[in-house]
Symmetry: C2
Amino acid sequence: MTWSLRVAATSPKIRLGEVASNVERIRAALESAVADDAELIVLPELATSGYVFTERGEAAKASIARDDPAWADLASALVPGVTAVVGYAERAGQHLYNTAAVFTRDRRIGDYRKSHLWGAEALLFESGDSAGAIFEVPFGRLAVAICYDNEFPEVPRRLALCGADMLALPVNWPRVPRPDGERPPETIQAMAAARSSRLATVIADRSGTERGVEWTEGTAIINDDGWLAAVPDAYGCAVATLAFRARGDKSLPPHNDLFGDRRPHLY
Amino acid sequence: MTWSLRVAATSPKIRLGEVASNVERIRAALESAVADDAELIVLPELATSGYVFTERGEAAKASIARDDPAWADLASALVPGVTAVVGYAERAGQHLYNTAAVFTRDRRIGDYRKSHLWGAEALLFESGDSAGAIFEVPFGRLAVAICYDNEFPEVPRRLALCGADMLALPVNWPRVPRPDGERPPETIQAMAAARSSRLATVIADRSGTERGVEWTEGTAIINDDGWLAAVPDAYGCAVATLAFRARGDKSLPPHNDLFGDRRPHLY
């Protein structure tokens, strides 16, 4: 049975270390996407805290726990049936993680801790123990990975093979050199991964700069054929209604199947 | 130690079933690439036979064995130190394979039999028993995969993890629907795979049409950062001198490494 879903990736202004005001702006972004009838809303990696910390103590100060009152505040911006994915610096006892929270208005569905740490992140955060994760959400099975995770082809592939209906990808992509006229390389990698596994991907990136790091502004919605379905409007929000084949259908008629044609004993 | 290699992907006119004249045109294309100082020359999938066979008997008639005299003729177009990769319909006893021959002027280095069969190919050919293969050639370790093989992210990844210095990819890409202004999706997938594993990829595709199938004309050279280094000239030949870091260097200074950052126990 075919189905469709209205999805949003939104990139409000995020200020390094200013958790309370970031939460306010995230809340407003959620409200705005809800008003646009989005059923899945994805915010960037480390949206509550910002990214470019220079040392662990600074990251710790901007971290929040899973039961921080901010979460109830953010959840209250949603309406029933809507799922949000918001990146945050997670404090868990003495540990810090680069985490994405998955929640609805009424329930904390789960948290995914990034397991492939980029740059100096390993000096700030512990690694998660799962390469992406899949959560049962109101519309189906939502995979979540964070930024550098998705540059390992194993990650989106594994999530799709495990039955994900779609991937939410909070990122903070620093702009890297690229030839004139080319997309960010991370976008190309996400498009390829989406097409290879028929895995639509909702990417929320940062915009502007932070401590001299220029973000690549890669917020985008990629459909399950691997093509761009939406890029951000003037307010940093990309919205699209994605149409899907039956869940788990990876067939390429008349002869082929993206998953059935795999030769796993050869890999 | 850094190194460089001059590579060519060339797409001469290929006529369905006309083996002798195809071999002549492949020979001329090899000579031309040698004259351009190419050290690796890649021809399309099923270059000696054409692709759009409607039944096995027809493919069998256009098949040749590994010891067919055509190979000595083609090898004689090369000069010492040059490696060629040429797709052909291979006859081996009662079996037919979609194979790529790897050879120098003086030696048949090996043959790779395609293991992911596209469309009606399974009605024509047996499957190979390796997901791509790596050959020791004069310049180093050359991986070879054929067409649909490379749309399985496991294949280029595995070849790179096994130590390939570069990938030769003979293809016959039928043109598929794509949004205006977009590249062929298979090119996007090859660019992403190249970047993820720092695996330069030399793609030789068909051009024009065959029995109503329009080829996507995706002949291209992709460098190991995943960017297009060359597309075909008016004669269907793409040539580039690729520069490489030290062999096996997957580092992303100062903190990261494309392979070292993998979490294989999580996949």
